[in-house]
Amino acid sequence: MTGTFSHEAISQLIGAWAVDACSPEEADLVQAHLRRCDICTTEARVLRETVADLGGDDLRPPPGLGARLRTAAHVRRRPAPRAPAYAKPYAAQVAALDLTLSTLDPGGWQRIAAYEEMSVHDLLAHLLATDSLVAAALGVPVQPPMEPGTNPVARTAVVVAQERERPVEQTLRAWRDQAEALCRVLPRRPGDATVTLGFPMVVPDVLLARAFETWIHTEDIAGATASPAATPLPENLSPMADLAARMLPKVTARGFPDGGLIGLHLTGPGGGDWTIPAGRSDDLGGVPDAEITADVVEFCRLVGGRRDPATFPAVISGDTAVARRWLAAAPKLAPYP
């Protein structure tokens, strides 16, 4: 094939493109071609690395520039809220969701992102609502004020209705400001205080649960709006997976009245090994009835209700029926709806 858009024509531009010597239109053509041509992609990558060497790196910027940039960075984009170590996964997920939302156009906010009816705007209102249950329990003032004993579903209904009447920017600011206030108050709260989200949890666990849900909904929003998303950093994913492993007996117990043990092996960065009672028994002795090996990210998505247990890819040994029944119950841990 020949012509303006042919491989031959575009590949001749690679050198000029690598030194930014094309017109903007030609640069766009090259970029588009690189997305579908492995040969040119390889050459472009090599030439770009060479171009990176052309300018040298022997000059040092003025001494104050780094400090000025760090200050300016706060204005461009808020960093993750400062938080105690146990709440860092939550703070990180808040920053990542804020980043995703900051790039959305008005149409993106109205896309259906979860539960077949919730738009991106609604989903953020839902996060604002559930976070507000934690914030209120820790003494942070929330809007609208909350009756004691309000559950996540009721609170979501109230807050979603309220936020639908407000511009998305206000919802975003309210959610982010509340997350900052929540993190700020944590160091002053006793670690053994409990908050009820479905069931009572100590404060560190409830912050992990909030990190988990914020991550899952970030992926919902990214999926609905064709936005990029990153899986949690391994050091943040690991405690989230651990929380899931510790909480799962609460939702699997009904299906395992006679108890049973599951050996869970989650692979990949942030993974680990757990022996989990399937029923209510706390007896962790004995040999597991089934061993399940799966990717840690995919397992967390299953627990978050975002994967079909029937087709969930896992390597199972021991009692396959027990393992599949246990996996089928895992998504019940997702707190909503």
Partner: protein, 213 residues
């Protein structure tokens, strides 16, 4: 001038590049880049500081070389780092190194600045950044220090035949498009494109060889 392609074409270039470090080292470096990017996604200010510490000399040096103006170079460096903090997903570790990407963004922004200044200069003849002032001599040799990287670069540029060196210098350091290169050197546009590509291919080999000296 008759252009001679590097023997083996792209595969030879890749081979040359790949001999600089083992596959495992490059994979580790790519993972490190990806992690740094992800830490920015998750709003980690320390990661921003690390990126700055690691690459500020590279970005600033490129900006100075192209703009020849320290204030302008500072502005370019500031925009490069702040835009990465603001839009970290713009970098994709699967497509190349963070070093290469930041260098690309720095060069692109510096060239844009110089082109705007050049257009402005044509308008009022009062340049802050005048490409016309960059004409004579060896623009790289004029500025180099004894630093190893610039020594390697100068040596690598010397290996190029004059026509290739002239073309790549005009484009890289003076911000000329290949069409402007063609016009200034009295070449057909196709030849200017070929010279830029061939110059970079040869520099790839020369810089790799120097890395092993």
């Amino acid at each position: 001038m008759r252009l001679e392609w590097c023997r083996g074409g792209v595969s030879a270039l890749v081979h040359q590049r790949s001999t600089e470090s083992s596959t495992a080292e490059r994979a580790a470096s790519s993972e490190e880049d990806a992690r740094l990017r992800d830490r920015l996604v998750f709003g980690d200010e320390d990661a921003f500081s690390e990126v700055y510490e690691k690459y500020s000399c590279l970005v600033y040096t490129i900006a100075v070389r192209v703009t020849r103006d320290e204030r302008a170079a500072e502005d370019v460096a500031q925009e490069v780092f702040l835009s990465f903090w603001q839009r970290p997903f713009a970098f994709d570790a699967a497509k190349g190194s963070l070093r290469g990407w930041l260098a690309m963004i720095a060069h692109r922004r510096a060239v844009d600045l110089v082109r705007r200044e050049e257009a402005h200069r044509r308008g009022n003849q009062d340049p802050q950044l005048s490409m016309a002032a960059l004409g004579g001599g060896d623009p790289v040799a004029d500025q180099v220090t004894d630093a190893d990287t610039t020594h390697r670069l100068r040596a690598a540029l010397r290996t190029l035949p004059e026509p290739l060196r002239h073309a790549v210098t005009l484009a890289y350091l003076h911000g000329r498009t290949y069409r402007e290169v063609a016009m200034e050197l009295g070449l057909p546009e196709g030849t200017a494109k070929s010279r830029l590509r061939e110059a970079l291919r040869r520099l790839t080999v020369a810089l790799s060889n120097h890395a092993h000296d």
